[in-house]
Symmetry: C2
């Protein structure tokens, strides 16, 4: 039994990729093991052979999604850039990330609402948010009269909200404002620069 590790991980990866696709699209409750098996073109029993249960398989997918979702923010927030650069980079990089992973934010947010306890299981060991530096930078700007008075957390939530929300609300934009696929793409592309300007302008005092 030398090197089945190649085939082994091949099957394992096929399953994981299929599971990602289905779980992201349907959520935990909506996903069916059979559908995942079909997507992976593999026998359903194999899902249980490699991952013991639906929960375990989901946990793997969820963990991966969350581990991708947060670091983008964290790395930039904790960097040595100044506030303007952080905000600009944060918005651009985060939107780019979501363009490549459009289902991830909605998936993570929904599953976190369904089961908030899940968060604790892996956050502590995997995601450590240390926004102190960023928050201090904001506070200094406020104290020096450069920025309007705003709670740093309020600002940060607004930035993240601005990036994530359009993707979560995509069907609304489609039906309410008639944005089709192409329009939406343009809207998002435009959003990167315009949100950067808007938020920076909102931060600076007149």
């Amino acid at each position: 039994m030398i090197n089945n590790s190649v085939l082994e991980t091949e099957a394992e990866n096929k399953i994981k990729e299929a599971a990602r696709k289905i779980f992201h699209r349907r959520g935990f409750d909506g996903a069916r093991m059979q559908e995942i098996a079909d997507e992976a073109q593999i026998n359903k029993a194999m899902l249980h052979y490699y991952f013991r249960s639906k929960d375990k398989l989901f946990e793997a997918v969820f963990k991966e999604a969350a581990m991708k979702l947060f670091p983008v923010v964290i790395l930039i927030i904790e960097s040595d850039l100044d506030v303007d650069e952080k905000i600009k980079k944060l918005i651009h990089n985060y939107i780019d990330f979501i363009i490549d992973n459009p289902y991830v934010p909605g998936f993570v947010l929904h599953e976190l609402t369904q089961n908030p306890e899940r968060m604790k299981h892996f956050v502590a060991s995997n995601v450590l948010m240390r926004p102190q530096k960023f928050f201090s930078q904001i506070q200094e700007g406020i104290d020096s009269g450069k920025y309007i008075p705003i709670a740093p957390l309020q600002l940060m939530v607004t930035i993240v909200a601005s990036c994530i929300f359009p993707f979560v609300a995509k069907p609304m934009l489609h039906t309410l404002f008639g944005l089709d696929q192409d329009d939406f793409g343009e809207f998002i592309e435009q959003r990167k620069e315009q949100m950067t300007q808007f938020i920076l302008n909102g931060l600076y005092k007149k």
Copy 2:
């Protein structure tokens, strides 16, 4: 068969209220007809007696939720107020609405993502978004040099995002920043005024 209309609607309302609670909490896929029946303290067959199927019952709940979610925005957007007042009122009223219906936005957004077609069935006849006036007001302000150049839709999405997102991301705020129930309440209360100031400041040119 004089007046069972009282009792009739009593049972019907008990069911609808229970269904609202469960559907909002668990989503369509996660909700069980038995759980709704238990919540309403009523026999499961009654659910099918008054509403024919799970889909029909869900449709009633969803319609109601969506019909509450949009008009708050629409009425203010279409009013005769000036831009500053519209933005202020929009943020305050919308956040107040979500405080009273905290599960509604996440519920509607998620179910709309699961089944975007649902939107079309009732939007055309029930929700008509006419943001032209608001958009013109913004455009005028931009043309006159009062506002920074921003696509009105970008602004509007940002405002709505700022109101809704904190509630959808509540578990994240809890785990990542340690906001407990009370902290969250304060955060939201503070947000009403600070977001108003921040967004208005972002709109006006220096």
